[in-house]
């Protein structure tokens, strides 16, 4: 079971109270970008076996979006943080490194 803690209301609940929103920290490439950039933004998604950053919405609770750093293999959640964050915060990276020393990094 995946247990997530919503950073907006502080509730820890299992995943049926939330809605998944796909990969987090995507950078939008719109008008003026190259076809490769737009293709990567629109269609290419990571599907890692291990550390992953995802958007989630507390759909049955406070209704807010947030980002979760979790392991897709063990369902361990390293941290959750507000959706208004452009890249993984340093302390989140630190927490992941402590748990997964051989992690390659966010990119």
């Amino acid at each position: 079971m995946l247990l997530l803690t919503c950073p907006c209301c502080g509730v820890t609940a299992e995943e049926t109270e939330f809605t998944p929103g796909g990969e987090a920290h995507l950078k939008r490439f719109g008008p003026g970008s190259s076809d490769e950039e737009f293709d990567a933004y629109m269609f290419q998604r990571k599907n890692p076996r291990g550390v992953h950053f995802e958007r989630w919405r507390h759909a049955y609770g406070c209704g807010k979006w947030f980002i979760a750093a979790r392991c897709t293999m063990t369902l361990e959640v390293f941290a959750t943080y507000p959706a208004q964050t452009l890249e993984p915060p340093a302390e989140v990276i630190e927490k992941i490194r402590a748990r997964r020393p051989d992690w390659e990094g966010a990119q």
Binding site: A13, T16, E17, Y60, K64
Partner: protein
């Protein structure tokens, strides 16, 4: 058109190891905006802005924290329309929304020692951790609900009016005698 005001399931009640009853009409006003800036408008009602996930009570009124930018004011049904107008007037010019949602909701009361047991069958929530004065938004079966402890051996649940029949059937079934999970009682 009838001018009679009716709640979702007037008088609906069922007797199991917990009594499930539709609690009738309840005035409800949704306030959205920066919570700190709503304080002055709510002050005349004698209600404090609740802390995160808290529900504060004063006489017949209560104020619940629904999300970082949303509050739910509950009051007698007959006062809702007037209170909505007053709040709208007071919050004029503020980046805030006041909406009378009284007729969009249904309230259920669960009375009996096993009330948390009934809800535990339907919600992904640890009810041992739900203290009086706290409100928990979650799902019950397949629909959204907000639950709080309303008194000794009494819990209350708010859901959308459109799913009131589903909720009543769900609670009634979960409260059938002989199906007590005895998690909390």
């Amino acid at each position: 058109m009838s001018d009679q005001l009716l709640s979702a399931l007037p008088g609906a009640a069922s007797e199991g190891f917990v009594t499930v009853a539709e609690a009738g009409l309840r005035g409800m006003i949704t306030l959205r905006g920066d919570l700190g800036r709503l304080t002055f408008a709510l002050a005349p009602l004698g209600l404090d802005i609740p802390a995160q996930r808290a529900i504060t009570q004063a006489d017949e009124r209560s104020l619940a924290w629904m999300s970082p930018d949303e509050l739910l004011l509950m009051l007698p049904y007959s006062e809702a329309a007037e209170a909505t107008r007053t709040l709208q007037e007071e919050l004029r010019g503020e980046f805030a929304t006041v909406a009378n949602v009284s007729d969009a909701r249904a309230v259920f009361a669960l009375r009996g020692k096993g009330a948390p047991d009934v809800l535990a069958k339907l919600c992904p929530v640890d009810f041992a951790a739900l203290k009086p004065g706290e409100i928990r938004r979650t799902r019950a079966g397949q629909v959204a609900a907000a639950i709080w402890v309303a008194g000794e051996d009494e819990m209350r649940l708010v859901c959308f009016r459109s799913v009131a029949q589903y909720m009543f059937d769900l609670l009634t079934t979960a409260a059938l005698p002989g199906s007590e999970p005895c998690l909390y009682s």
